[in-house]
Amino acid sequence: MMLNMVGALNQALALEMERDEKVIVLGEDIGVDGGVFRVTEGLLKRFGGQRVFDTPLAESAIVGASIGLAIAGLRPVAEIQFMGFIYPALNQIISHAARLRNRSRGRYFVPLVIRTPYGAGVKALEHHSESTEALFCQIPGLKVVAPSTPYDAKGLLISSIRDDDPVIFLEPTKIYRAGRQEVPEELYEIPLGQAKVVREGEKLTIVAWGAMVAVAQKAAEMVEKDGVFPEVIDLRTLSPLDRQTILESVKKTGRLLIVHEAPKTCGLGAEIAAFVAEKAILQLEAPILRVTAYDITVPLAKSEDFYYPSPERVARGIKKIMES
């Protein structure tokens, strides 16, 4: 079945709800309206108001109530309408969802998925283009997932729902409807914590996630004419990080470029660069490079194209690293 990411996510939710009656969906406008991006379309009609319900406009309570639902044995999938609106819920996420297993020595745990669209590229209003995944990657107890294709989105969401730890599931807004892909109709899982080499190559490893994977791949194609054939890794899960896949690739290629659409400083790229330096600096042929968004507030629609990495900017980075 050819599906875009919205369709694949919708199918994952429907199949999991059908398989397990403990799975429930809640959030703002996710019922009758089917979510502002339509990811939950049709679920209310199919599964009823006890399992699919619109909440008042209150992000902290959406997450807080989901924690209560989860410790009482349900498996809530909460939608936060945009990543820029998740901040009122940070106390619930960081102080509770992430810690309850530890605080209660395993008596309580929080099988909660918080889905939220993230990233720029759709010319939206302020606060609708955030990419602050690193905030969550620093919190012990959270898992962070960011798919880059419809196929992965479905398998990763199913795994996230079945996971017994809280998962921040980041859906790249820019590629929600970017393209269709063959997606099997049945249930399948893509294990969390496993990156994927999406393009085999040599002499350079590019690490990217979410909407930046396609950008990295395009840049890799652009530099082929110069005789450079980069390897591209799609992280898929940002926390826990699949360090082994990155390390194996870097040891093979000797060079590392990280691409992300979050600001550069203290972005996840910094962690990747640091750990590769710790583990394999002597095997590197060139300094590690990051091509990222800038350390400024996400520009509004008219200027956003300058902000996040384009294939051209990544290709420039590739040239820079190959020449150093």
Binding site: S60, G68, A72, H96, G106
Partner: protein, 359 residues
Amino acid sequence: MIEKYGPLRGEKLQILDENGQARPELEPKLDAPDLKRLYSLMVTTRAADLKALKLQRQGRIGTFAPSLGHEACQVGSAFALEKKDWVFPYFRDLGTYLTLGLPLKSYYLYWMGNEASMHIPPDLNIFTISVPVGSQLPQAVGCALAAKIKKEAAAVLAYFGDGATSEGDFSEALNFAGVFRTPNVFVCYNNQYAISTPVSKQTAARTIAQKAIAYGFAGIVVDGNDVLAMYAATKEALEKARSSGEPTLIEAFTYRMGNHTTSDDAARYRTEDEVNAWAKKDPIERYKLYLKGKGLWDEAFENQTQKEAEDLINDAVEKAESTPPPSLDDLFSYTYKNMTPDLTEELNDLKAFLKEAGK
């Protein structure tokens, strides 16, 4: 009964006055053993609380939040709970725990800084202590919503202080409860202060209970130093929650007789006269007079109660102090269901470091 005490009219439910005189028409139907049990629980709470203060001064436990003055609102409300109900406590809930049967050892361990304290026994539906003020309230609503979805006739009781009512989570939680008609009972210990800030600086509303009206359900102000009133109001609210899924906000009007915590000095922000006036409303003294009037209290009962409390406390202190700190493996192994490769590496590194350092 709850509907009769309109918080907007400034009415407060009191069954026992300060001299232990009861209003017979409102007395809850409790038999003699239960009436005596309420007394024992309050006495044990006070003794265990004072013991914790002593232990803190001796450096045997860390910072501690005393419950002095809260005995009636903690014990009276918790006594109304049934086994299937859930409780979301806050950090000043000693009497609640003792009433529900959480080992006192666990409470002492919590203030000693040992993670083992919050491993709640599986047969008790008590949630862990929430330190960020008011943040347990949306969780309590979610838990109640789960009971409703699963069609379980259980209620969820959440405790918090007057300061918590200024937090966004209070508003969000009570609004959710109103919209979803969740079987919640919200018990606010209005003890007049959030650390140093008086309740008059938390809210311009005449009562906290009246805030419930804005969320579409009932609220009631109860004399929080009257154990019978606390029991009766909570019992009615819990029954309503279980049978019709209606939430209730109970404002337990009381006073924090001690400091906020052992790191606080309440003399900086309140007068001795004020404290002395509240001391005359002591929840235990008033209840003792009531029991005496009923022929349920005598010196022998008092001595026996004190002795039992002392034995329980000594045993808890001994058990808490002989509980080892968590192992290194234990500190790392509850972050996720399964240890991640990163955590395994970090733990091994810590162990290697300690070995090298000869520790």
